[in-house]
Symmetry: C2
Subunit: 355 residues, 2 copies
């Protein structure tokens, strides 16, 4: 069934049907009603391809998620604790605002091409990109796309530099400096001075920021950052386990550690426990993200909550503003985070009573 048939049945022309369906002002109520009756009777819907070809929007947002994956985990995708909540939130708010959402996973730099292709095939009006590693492939893509783009977790300075002159980009980051400050402050106020860090991938902007701010805040407290206590976990459990095990075998431990995500914090806590080191009695641990797991594990994890739902909402709103040209070419948001105090931190043990 096409609009022409509706037109015939309603005794009008295709143009009028189009006018009714697109809510044009100059259609008398009577005509509109007559047409709508036929449309409703036959459950008619406009053909999306024809509309788009004739110049309308697709009303579709592309959501591109960079997958962090653990080579040791065959079901690669499950490594991404942010994936679920964020997709849910974008789909939820997107659908609510009348958008269709195309979800796509990017596994490696080569896949970045898919983002550009999706735009060039005119499948989507705008895109949301999250979890990007800093690399040439994604930079090349960003520098070529002039459709509206929301980029979550990326260095704003770099975006400004590489974005095309006719580009429309909104960058959204969470306030990782504040988050990390609160982690360090919490431990310091409990009396810790030997504080370690479990880094994520620093090619991710948030990974870089958390690490960078850790150093800065430690310095501000006049505390040394000891190399032996700075582990590379790459946001991945298995890597974290290895690094923690290695540190334990070396025989010297900090009294507290901050992990750059909850996954690593949980993996570290498990590893310590397996070696008879108690959390928080022997070592305090702080996570980051406030994933579902954080409040489920024992002891419940002290962490920094990133409001994924809010970020997703903001991202969809930003898309809408850019698509409807209500916003300028470049906008930047920093979303506030919340320090969540639970049970994984305590005062440092006295030297003597430490295991």
């Amino acid at each position: 069934m096409k609009s022409e048939e509706i037109a015939k049945l309603a005794g009008v022309s295709r143009s009028t049907v189009s006018r009714v369906l697109n809510n044009y002002a100059n259609v008398p109520e009577e005509t509109r009603k007559k047409v709508m009756e036929v449309i409703n009777k036959y459950d008619f819907e406009l053909n999306m391809s024809a509309r788009v070809l004739a110049g309308k929007r697709t009303d579709t947002i592309g959501l591109f998620l960079f997958s962090v994956y653990d080579q040791k985990n065959p079901q690669r995708i499950y490594g991404n604790s942010y994936f679920g909540p964020f997709v849910e939130a974008v789909v939820d708010t997107g659908n609510y605002k009348g958008y269709y959402v195309l979800v796509h996973t990017i596994y490696n730099p080569d896949d970045c091409r898919r983002i550009q292709q999706t735009f060039m095939q005119r499948r989507i009006d705008a895109g949301i990109i999250i979890g990007t590693e800093k690399n040439e492939a994604i930079k090349s893509v960003i520098s070529k796309i002039s459709n509206p783009l929301v980029i979550v977790d990326y260095d704003p300075a770099e975006i400004k530099q590489i974005m095309p002159s006719d580009g429309k980009i909104t960058v959204i980051n969470s306030d990782d400096r504040k988050g990390m400050d609160e982690c360090v402050d919490e431990l310091v106020s409990l009396g810790h001075r030997e504080i370690g860090l479990i880094e994520g991938r620093t090619t991710a902007y948030s990974g870089f920021l958390r690490k960078d701010e850790f150093r800065k805040r430690m310095a501000a407290h006049g505390l040394p950052v000891r190399k032996e206590y700075c582990l590379k976990g790459d946001f991945i459990r298995s890597k974290t386990e290895n690094a923690v095990t290695k540190m334990i075998k070396l025989g010297k431990l900090p009294t507290a550690m901050i992990a750059c995500n909850d996954d690593m914090a949980i993996a570290a806590a498990e590893t310590f426990r397996r070696h008879g080191i108690r959390v928080p009695e022997d070592i305090s641990i702080i996570g980051y993200d406030d994933s579902q797991a954080a409040s489920l594990v024992q002891p419940q994890l002290t962490t920094v909550r990133i409001p994924f739902y809010k970020i997703a909402q903001k991202a969809v709103e930003a898309v809408k503003d850019m698509v409807e040209e209500k916003s300028t070419c470049y906008i930047e948001y920093v979303i506030d985070v919340e320090f969540i105090r639970r049970k994984s931190c305590a005062e440092p043990a006295e030297k003597g009573e430490k295991t």
Copy 2:
């Protein structure tokens, strides 16, 4: 940039460009190469709308997820523990097989219309539907769609009855009867005779099946199903807490309970613990799904693993087979489940020593 410009630059006609891009056989290698060079040089991509309008496939799958949501939880979507893993898995395998995936959430019967609309607007070639409640709205939709459809967790008998004569439907269920049998058998073999059930919504096929099989298996063991021990949790935490609290206040408890999903099992365990009833010492609990949370809580939950990834893979394969017309009009799969024995079950306490 359109194919005509590519044609001009390559010194051929639009048709030839089209033939090259669609891998037609009768294009000499030389011509193909000449055209491809221009295409690569300009990063050209075909306009999807034009292709579809001219009769090609969209290469897009629609994934429709029915949202179970807790009225008491404002961020409604987070209630669905299956959402994350399943979306990830479908997007993952879908992308891998060359499909784009449109994800859509359905919150209420009215939203079912969206499924039909998405098809009628010709946005997708095929759909995957999961988490459906049995209601007239969805039945009406299923009875009208003649595009390929995969339905996960639905009564096959009903599908066969309502599907249109030109429909192509694949139904995928997990082997819930086997799963529930193993739950009951495990508890019985531990010595339990007073076993309770925390039901999910029985309007969901899996909810119905698990409840139904619980009764059957209990009967097979010659055990009574006591009404006071059968709680309605609707797959939701808050409802479960209420029901469990009520049962506790009544003063009589079973020695073990089987919950129809992990969320309810965890909520029940927490509620018992809050009332000083220990798991598994005082009461054994079994969950269902093997969600991420199941292995994170203390004690780790004995449960039935539903292989979501495998189901998603099967669903995408089924879509592909139907789209490419390699399969008949109706197919049904039952996916095997796995009983996961962890720490939430023990032998029943002696009458005397029970709290």
